[in-house]
């Protein structure tokens, strides 16, 4: 047994969890502040300086509330569902490279060669949390929320999977560290022509990559149940959707699971399309541990920027109607993603570098 590997992995897991849970807590705060600023309000600004201790107060509130289980629910699944909503989102982070190297240790917890397949496989499990929550609550609104969520997530999973295929046509591997390495050498997926302006091949490649990026991003919105695709919890129609019957920390787990899913989704987008931890002009971790830390910081800055876009979109767009959602998923994004694969393949085959 390689104790060095075991120890560094454990350290990475603990550090990443700490960072991600911290980001998650402050994402909730950021969501409230950003929504307030967009709506010409101030948002929470009482607890601590500028309301910065609000997440702590929220957590204390969730933990101290009575953990109530209604009598009409299926207790086992009722307890299982919040965990199922939280765990897949966190697990997915294991394969995302969140930095270059630090003291020679690669900054990814599990560098497995099925990378993105693992991400999709685990992320799909997230739907079970919601469906089981909706079903075990034994109540009408949660049930409708659960049904909606299962159909929505399955529909968008498709375009999600198809949208990334052009990326892997280009890279030739599913390993996420390889995707990042490719982007460092050949320019970011979203804009491969930067720094190589005269290269027609890269300009052409940018077209399918941009389409992929947009479709993938929208599919991630749908996967994380964020507005404009938050039909499973549609407050105005379904009271609270799948978590209507939940209270205290069990509701908290659903709530935070949504934010973790958002962080994970952003991390995947950053890794696949926005160059991972790479930023032009910043060397990687082999030039000293300081640069290693800078790489990690760059990665999380990109994630934070994407989270801001998630929130910005949420407080701009109204919710889709259910049939519009299905039409959008099956008639537009599915087809666009499918055609996009052929487009990328043709460019790769007939316009070589």
């Amino acid at each position: 047994m390689d104790y060095y590997f075991l120890f560094t992995s454990l350290a990475k897991i603990v550090a990443l969890l700490a960072v991600v849970l911290g980001i998650m807590n402050y994402a909730v705060y950021a969501e409230r502040r950003i929504s307030a600023l967009i709506q010409d309000r101030l948002g929470p600004n009482r607890v601590g300086p500028a309301g910065l201790f609000q997440p702590i107060a929220d957590a204390a509130k969730f933990l101290l509330k009575e953990d109530f289980t209604p009598r009409h629910v299926n207790t086992f699944y009722y307890w299982l569902a919040p965990c199922l909503a939280m765990i897949p989102a966190i697990t997915t982070l294991a394969v995302v490279p969140f930095g270059s190297t630090l003291f020679g240790v690669p900054m990814v917890i599990a560098d497995i060669n099925v990378g993105v397949l693992f991400v999709f496989a685990i992320a799909s499990l997230g739907v079970y949390g919601i469906v089981i929550a909706g079903w075990s609550s034994n109540s009408k609104y949660p049930f409708l929320g659960g049904v909606r969520s299962s159909s929505q997530m399955i529909s968008y999973e498709l375009s999600l999977g198809l949208a990334v295929i052009p990326v892997f046509l280009l890279v030739g591997q599913l390993r996420l560290t390889e995707v990042v390495r490719y982007q460092i050498e050949h320019g970011w997926m979203i804009a491969p022509f930067i720094g190589d302006w005269a290269n027609l091949h890269k300009w052409l490649l940018a077209i399918p990559m941009l389409i992929s990026f947009v479709v993938f991003m929208i599919a991630i919105f749908a996967e994380t149940n964020r507005l404009p695709f938050d039909l499973p919890e549609a407050e105005t129609e379904l009271v609270g959707g799948y978590h209507t019957e939940y209270g205290s920390m069990k509701f908290g787990l659903f709530f935070l699971g949504e934010y973790i899913a958002m962080i994970t989704g952003s991390a995947i987008i950053v890794t696949l399309f926005l160059g991972g931890w790479h930023f032009p002009g910043i060397p990687d971790g082999s030039h000293g541990w300081g640069w290693g830390l800078v790489n990690i910081f760059v990665f999380f800055s990109k994630v934070a920027a994407l989270i801001f876009i998630f929130m910005w979109v949420r407080w701009t767009l109204p919710r889709f109607r259910y049939d519009q959602l299905m039409r959008l998923g099956w008639v537009f994004f599915f087809e666009i993603a499918l055609v996009n694969i052929f487009l990328a393949a043709i460019i790769l085959a007939y316009f070589p570098q």
Binding site: L37, I38, D40, R41, L42, W312, V313, W315, T316, L317
Partner: protein
């Protein structure tokens, strides 16, 4: 009979949907930016900022008892306010002023004077009806308490809010 609603014909730009989304995002970003730069006027931050200096002269806040310039409580315990009070918030227990007292001519004074601020509706009828001009509605509006008993203003509390009122009618005065 079913009514067919005419659907408007959308232009290509409208059907594309994306321009509308982008312009929506631009609008929200404009609001966000203006808030960050402090250009947008937001709601008054109540406990820090108060509206007190803008309160109108006729503002009807908490009722209070006043003293005259000699320091005597102006109220003569006639109980008119108690009778007129629509929600019956006022309770007065009158007492008699002893004959040897300087103000013996006044005859009565309020031994207890309670106003239940949970009941009070700030109508100002007590102020209207008072023949001695002893009760006034002041500008205090933040009346708080932890219990119901806290919300009953007794005589001391009422006098503390009221303070001293000079140069108004004194009907019992010898000179009149």
């Amino acid at each position: 009979m079913a009514i067919t609603v005419a659907r408007p014909n959308l232009t290509f730009r409208e059907r594309l949907y994306l321009p509308a989304i982008l312009s929506g995002l631009a609008i929200t970003m404009k609001h966000f930016k203006n808030m960050l730069l402090g250009r947008t006027k937001v709601t008054m931050q109540y406990p820090e900022e108060k509206w007190d200096s803008h309160l109108p002269e006729h503002y009807r806040g908490a009722p209070a008892l006043v003293r005259d310039e000699t320091g005597r409580v102006r109220c003569v315990a006639c109980q008119l306010c108690e009778f007129i009070c629509p929600p019956r918030a006022i309770k007065i227990v009158p007492g008699e002023i002893p004959a040897a007292d300087r103000f013996a001519k006044v005859e009565k004074f309020p031994n207890e004077f309670d106003i239940d601020m949970i009941r009070c509706i700030y109508c100002g009828l007590c102020e209207e009806v008072c023949p001695e001009q002893a009760i006034y509605l002041r500008k205090d509006y933040a009346i708080t308490g932890f219990t119901r008993a806290d919300m009953v203003h007794n005589k001391e509390k009422l006098l503390e809010i009221g303070g001293v009122m000079h140069g108004v009618v004194l009907k019992w005065n010898e000179k009149k």
